[in-house]
């Protein structure tokens, strides 16, 4: 279908366009580009009103689903921590600089910018007849996809798709499809070129192990371990439970304000306003207080199950995504275990009283 240089150029443009969309939303300038792409054009708002488009963008990414790697991968659930650092190190390794004046380096738009940057470099290398440089650019793309973007993208996509905005739901779905397909295409080219896939290909250029390696904080617990510890700890209260649920690397869930609002409505328990943590605490406490706790746990389980189903669908639509989704399903299983234990404890408490 495409030669390698054509593919590099096309991917550069795709990553660039998607980066802009995540950075600024569907602005009039971007709308024109989007109209040329049937899959996105079909779900673009119609009629298009620039202010409404800007408002939708802010509602989604400013108030509900935060498009940062650290939000989805950092065990502390904080921006600008070690995950952001890992991303910065990778950028340095490839010679890409993110302007962090407005957003930190691990914003989705920057990660897509970085990939676009590498694809451009690859396309130029092909143009210059520098196969070695092209191979190096490919290796960096493969590494970045593996170490960063693809580790959190499935959970991000599942979260966005729950928010009921058709345009961004489709954009998120396409973003995952694009990244996965790029990874597959790169692996295929590596095989065709007789280079071993993965590690050891362009050793010189690999960032220092331990800094940008397989990542995660060695002291971090497994989700299942975390659940067991929470359950065993007599100090565990509803706030700790809320903390767990709001930390995607443990719970596998990203609960937006909108999600929590819906939990409140379905369990008929007030959820209050403010930060997500605040909202979820209010919800759990009021549920416990007004005898809505079983309904609240059931509603949470419902969200976990829906998320798992959405992830399975992503994997089913796209065989290549299956292994990416697996860790997230494990986390969701831990959440279900926690919720089941809560339901059981509640039942026991009743029997006793």
């Amino acid at each position: 279908m495409f030669t390698a240089p054509e593919a590099a150029l096309a991917y550069a443009r795709a990553f660039q366009l998607f980066a802009e969309l995540y950075r600024s939303g569907l602005t009039p300038a971007l709308l024109e580009q989007v109209q040329a792409l049937p899959e996105l054009a079909a779900v673009a708002p119609h009629p298009y009103v620039p202010d409404e488009a800007a408002a939708s963008f802010h509602t989604l990414f400013g108030l509900n689903v935060f498009p940062y790697q650290s939000i989805f991968l950092d065990p502390a659930g904080l921006l600008g921590g070690p995950e952001t650092d890992r991303v910065r190190v990778s950028y340095r390794g490839m010679g890409f600089a993110a302007d962090e004046a407005s957003e930190p380096a691990d914003h989705l738009a920057y990660e897509l910018d970085a990939l676009a940057f590498l694809c451009h470099a690859e396309a130029e290398a092909w143009e210059d007849g520098r196969g070695d440089m092209a191979a190096r650019a490919q290796q960096l793309q493969a590494d970045f996809l593996k170490e960063h973007l693809l580790r959190w993208l499935p959970a991000f996509v599942a979260a966005v798709q729950r928010q009921g905005d058709p345009f961004y739901a489709q954009l998120a779905d396409l973003t995952l499809a694009l990244a996965v397909e790029r990874r597959r295409g790169l692996a295929e080219q590596q095989i065709a070129a007789g280079r071993p896939a993965g590690d050891g290909a362009v050793l010189v250029l690999r960032p220092r192990p331990g800094v940008n390696g397989a990542a995660a904080d060695p002291t971090a617990e497994t989700p299942a371990g975390r659940v067991e510890r929470l359950l065993a700890d007599p100090q565990t209260d509803l706030d700790a439970i809320a903390g767990f649920l709001l930390t995607p690397p443990y719970s596998g869930l990203f609960l937006s304000r909108r999600d929590i609002g819906q939990l409140g409505r379905s369990a008929e328990a007030p959820h209050g306003f403010g930060e997500r943590r605040q909202m979820l605490r209010t919800f759990l406490r009021s549920a416990a207080e007004f005898d809505r706790f079983p309904a609240a746990v059931a509603a949470l389980a419902g969200v976990a199950d829906d998320t798992a189903a959405a992830l399975r669908r992503l994997a089913a639509d796209n065989a290549e995504a299956a292994e990416l989704v697996e860790p997230w399903l494990e986390r969701l299983a831990a959440t279900r275990r926690l919720l089941a234990a809560l339901a059981e404890a509640q039942g026991d408490a009743r029997t006793r009283s």
């Binding site: 279908m1 096309a10 443009r13 795709a14 040329a36 792409l37 049937p38 899959e39 397909e181």
Partner: protein, 1004 residues
């Protein structure tokens, strides 16, 4: 849409590419469900093409001038209003032999096919299709289809394949063809199941210089062909149903016979105009249920019933004496009476005729009338009713209607009773006797010869007939075979009668479709007998599994073919096209080979044969290459487009003029319409004045006449008399005792007749498994059984029954119904597909996973491990398979029954025993002893009267009879030394010195 193709599309957009004229991405994972592009255009209100069907209904179609750019709403997306922009490319259905027109809706951007609908300008199908036509879409997007050329690695049948390039396959196969051709002229064989075209491949075989055509004819139509050929020289009827007064069908023709769609609509048309419909069939088919009269005759009694009707016409004088006097060989018949060749059963009349002065005058016709009265006087309605086991009034009613038909009797038999019974060819002969007696031959509303209603244009050059005689196809025992003894190939190989160097099977699954499939299994596995087996097939089959190469060839919308069929009393040609290729070319993109446009690397035979033949003879020294050189570019290899261009410019009367009137070249015209009507009507062509030096004299005028030795319709067959079949039951229309005559079936002992070959109108022989819609409609073949039989053996619907045949047994469920005659069980012939590997072969939803075992002494056992299951593919429908029962492969347990004259396999089986299944029996079980197979084969072989003993002129076969790819006359000569066969020693005719005879070998 797969992820890959989805992203490729996105990237194309970003590269600013016009996706026009660009096929969907290729590659294993690039093949998936079709996707369609949105368009800003909106459907405009345009006057549609309205077809007023003669039965009163109307259909609407996009007007032809809009076919290149047609916008319509995507109905699947309703209630959303999404418009799509298509190019409508006509093609021809490939899912039966009717050649109905199809119109492919090709998305102008993605080049994917949205749907196949009817082609309103096609004179045969007239815009309509049966379920099989639109199902072409299923076949096109079948997740299990074969996308790339495959070559066997490991042993035959082991299931290990590697992908090869077309170049590798072509070079290897061509080299082996060349090697064979240098040694012999019968080592390359093309064995076709469904030809779907007229003459293209036969021309290739002739060009290779071999006698190498084989077909499925002898498990299908051979007995009908012989019956018609003996009368008339043509071997296939073409009834004019629409204008008939009486339609007489032997079989369930309306819904399942040949030309189902074109004929069914015309039968209904005729019926609505008042025609009476009579159906002879032991099974209450859908057709029988819609008939005015149903005659559920005991199999094999049909000839007697037909002759009882004939006798009624004769004895009452209600037959067309003028027609019979003018067109029947009554003078030759009376001469045969005089010479004692035909016994009238009336010595006084015999003596009177012997005393006549020959040559006879027209007035002497009265003696023929008397002879007929004498011959058939015992064929009373009562006798017929008793033999057929049907009420006598029904036969009388049928006779009354036929007597009143006024020259408008449309009658047809093809596969039913003719191919069912020993001597079934006499059924066709007796049926056509009624056409002759009523003067309904080639008349409006009567029955024509197929050649009058079919048009096969000549190509730019035709190679001469082969200089060889293929003994494996036309063995010496069968001088009247119509045609190749295809189903005996494994038995003949087993006897050591020959070998094959290069064996092409084309849309043909011999191991599954033929009787005695385990004999095929043995033959296909034996590399010393079949040295190279190349399966040309769009889909997996049981036989392809044992091939050396599996080469994917296109479905109905993926190939070029030119086809014509005798659907009614006119003539037309239809052009099958690779629709994506044509769309790409119309959008300005060059395509050299069709596989560039088809999914994966699916090719078409037309181009494959050209490239293969050119490689077989690169320097032209074999004399092959010259037949594949372009008539437009001397010395260069022809393209497929040039081949058809030449035909359309030079061989189709009226086409160049029709094209010029629209400002098109003839090729452009055919690409646009896909069809051309050559003649609107063509009645009684035999009455036309004969060209100088040809024809036959009738009432003092030279007429075209018939292609028989006498030029007339032959009541008495001098040919059969001469060739060792002098008895009355052979030389004139007369009943022959079937192998399932009631005398041979002891119902008290539990014996029954198995009717194994009725068709379902929604299935495609062995190709349905790749059409999900068709399989959802019908996927199992339970045993039909009458309640009285079910009660006798103690079973009810759904119970398992074990049916024991002459060579083995099978186990299937039973369906108790009054729709079948007592004493007979029936099964559809389509179903019971199996595969040996879970994840490769025929689709898991359409076949059973089976285990195949053999004991090394010729006994085989097939057991189902499990039935159909849902499976995962790019098509979500494959996960929705809700059935398990995919039927039972009964043909494996059928012994071969070659009719000694027609050579057809007599399908009806004696069910030695039918009883409730035994403990341990499971659905789908099959067990066969191939040692028994060979015994039964020899019993039937012993019925023959071989040419080396009976030929009157030292030839193998009467020259006037049809034969595919007739060898040159010199090769009709019998070999002077017979090779040893069948355990008999060869012998030399007396007077030939042994050393001289030894030099002369068969077929060289």
């Amino acid at each position: 849409m797969s992820n890959q193709s989805r992203i490729n599309r996105l990237l194309s957009g970003l590269l600013g590419r016009n996706p026009d004229a660009r096929p969907a991405p290729k590659g294993e994972s690039g093949f998936g469900l079709p996707h369609f592009a949105p368009t800003d255009l909106q459907p405009e209100p345009v006057p549609m093409t309205v077809v007023h069907h003669p039965d009163g209904r109307m259909s609407q179609y996009p007007p032809v001038e809009k076919w290149d750019d047609w916008v319509e709403w995507d109905g699947k997306l309703w209630p959303q209003r999404v418009a799509r922009r298509y190019m409508l490319i006509p093609t021809v259905c490939f899912n039966c032999e009717s050649a109905c027109g199809l119109l492919a809706y090709v998305d102008r951007e993605t080049l994917e096919v949205k749907k196949f609908e009817g082609n309103p300008v096609h004179p045969g199908s007239r815009g309509r299709n049966c379920a099989k036509g639109p199902a072409t879409h299923n076949q096109t997007y079948d997740p299990e289809r074969i996308l790339y050329p495959l070559k066997r690695v490991g042993k035959r049948g082991e299931g290990k394949w590697k992908r090869v390039t077309w170049e590798e396959a072509l070079n290897d196969i061509a080299a082996q063809m060349r090697e064979s051709r240098l040694k012999r002229r019968d080592g390359i064989v093309y064995h076709v199941g469904r030809p779907g075209e007229d003459g293209y491949t036969n021309r290739c075989i002739l060009a290779w210089g071999v006698d190498g055509h084989n077909s499925h004819t002898n498990i299908c139509s051979s007995s009908a062909r012989l019956g018609y050929a003996l009368w008339s020289g043509f071997d296939r009827p073409s009834p004019d149903h629409a204008n008939a007064r009486v339609i007489l069908l032997i079989s369930s023709h309306l819904e399942t016979g040949h030309y189902f769609n074109p004929h069914a609509q015309r039968i209904i048309e005729g019926k609505m105009a008042g025609a009476k419909l009579i159906t002879i069939d032991p099974r209450l088919s859908n057709t029988a249920s819609m008939s005015d009269l149903w005659l559920p005759t005991w199999p094999g009694s049909e000839t007697t019933v037909l002759l009882a009707i004939a006798n009624y016409l004769i004895q009452t004088g209600r037959y067309d004496q003028r027609f019979v006097r003018r067109w029947v060989n009554w003078r030759e018949t009376l001469a045969a009476v005089r010479d004692g060749k035909l016994d009238l059963g009336d010595p006084a009349l015999q003596a009177e005729i012997a005393a006549l002065s020959f040559p006879l005058s027209d007035d002497d016709f009265s003696y023929f009338d008397r002879a007929l009265r004498a011959l058939y006087r015992d064929f009373t309605f009562e006798r017929a009713a008793e033999e057929a086991q049907v009420p006598v009034e029904r036969i009388r009613q049928a006779a009354e209607w036929i007597a009143d038909c006024d020259g408008k009797l449309a009658a047809h038999v093809w596969r039913a009773a003719t191919i069912g019974n020993l001597g079934g060819w006499q059924v066709a002969r007796a049926l056509f006797f009624l056409n002759v007696l009523t003067g309904s031959v080639g008349t409006r509303g009567g029955t024509s010869g197929n050649e009058w209603n079919k048009f096969v244009p000549k190509p730019f050059a035709t190679p001469p007939g082969p200089e060889a005689w293929n003994e494996l196809h036309f063995p010496i025992e069968y001088p009247f075979a119509h045609f190749e003894m295809s189903f005996l190939l494994p038995h003949l190989l087993e006897e050591g009668r020959g070998t094959l160097d290069v064996y092409f099977t084309r849309v043909y699954n011999p191991m599954w479709i033929n009787p005695d499939g385990f004999m095929w299994l043995k033959a296909l596995r034996d590399e010393s007998k079949i040295k190279l087996h190349v399966a040309l097939t769009p889909t997996w089959s049981e036989s392809a599994w044992f091939a050396d190469y599996v080469l994917p060839m296109g479905h109905g919308g993926e190939r070029h073919d030119l086809m014509s069929q005798e659907t009614h009393a006119g003539q037309w040609i239809a052009f099958r096209q690779p629709v994506r290729r044509v769309a790409m070319e119309k959008l300005g993109r060059k395509v050299r080979y069709t596989f560039e446009a088809n999914p994966g690397e699916v090719w078409e035979e037309n181009e494959f044969w050209i490239e293969l033949s050119a490689r077989m003879d690169p320097d032209g020294s074999l004399g092959v290459r010259k037949w594949f050189e372009s008539p437009y570019r001397p010395g260069e290899i022809i393209t497929v487009e040039e081949y058809y261009r030449w035909i359309f410019e030079n061989s189709v009367p009226g086409l160049p003029e029709a094209a010029a009137a629209e400002g098109l070249t003839p090729l452009q015209y055919m690409r646009k319409y896909g069809v051309f009507e050559v003649k609107r009507e063509n009645y009684t062509p035999y009455e036309q004045p004969a060209p100088a030096g040809k024809g036959v004299e009738v009432d003092g005028e030279r007429k075209v006449g018939f292609e028989t030795p006498s030029g007339k319709l032959e009541f008495f067959s001098e040919t059969l008399y001469q060739w060792g079949w002098p008895e009355r039951e052979y030389t004139i229309p007369w009943p022959l005792k079937s192998h399932v005559h009631p005398d041979h079936i002891d119902r008290q002992k539990g014996e029954m007749v198995l009717l194994p070959n009725f068709r379902l109108p929604t299935l495609i022989h062995t190709r349905s498994a790749n059409a999900k819609w068709l399989y959802e409609i019908s996927h199992k073949n339970p045993i039909w059984m009458h309640p009285s039989d079910a009660e006798r053996i103690g079973v009810k619907t759904g119970d398992l029954v074990r049916v024991t045949t002459e060579i083995g047994y099978f186990v299937d469920t039973v369906w108790v119904t009054e729709g079948i005659k007592p004493g007979i069980i029936a099964m559809s012939h389509h179903l019971g597909r199996w595969r040996l590997q879970e994840d490769l072969g025929i689709g898991p939803g359409m076949s059973a996973l089976a285990r195949l075992e053999e004991d090394g002494e010729g006994r085989f056992k097939l057991n189902y491990i499990h039935g159909a299951r849902p499976w995962k593919s790019f098509d979500p429908d494959t996960e929705r398979i809700w059935w398990e029962d995919v039927g039972v492969h009964q043909n494996l347990t059928h012994a071969v029954h070659p009719d000694p004259l027609s050579g057809g396999h007599c399908w009806l089986q004696k069910a030695v025993n039918v009883r409730k299944a035994e403990p341990g029996d499971r659905h789908g079980d099959v067990w066969v002893d191939t040692n028994r197979s060979m015994q039964v084969y020899r019993e039937w072989l012993a019925l023959t009267r071989p040419a080396d003993k009976y030929s009157p002129d030292g030839t193998r076969r009467p020259l006037w009879l049809k034969r595919p790819l007739k060898p040159q006359k010199a090769y009709y000569k019998l070999p002077e030394v017979l090779v040893s066969r069948n355990g008999r020693n060869g012998h030399a005719p007396e007077g030939v010195p042994a050393e001289q005879a030894a030099l002369v070998k068969a077929g060289q």
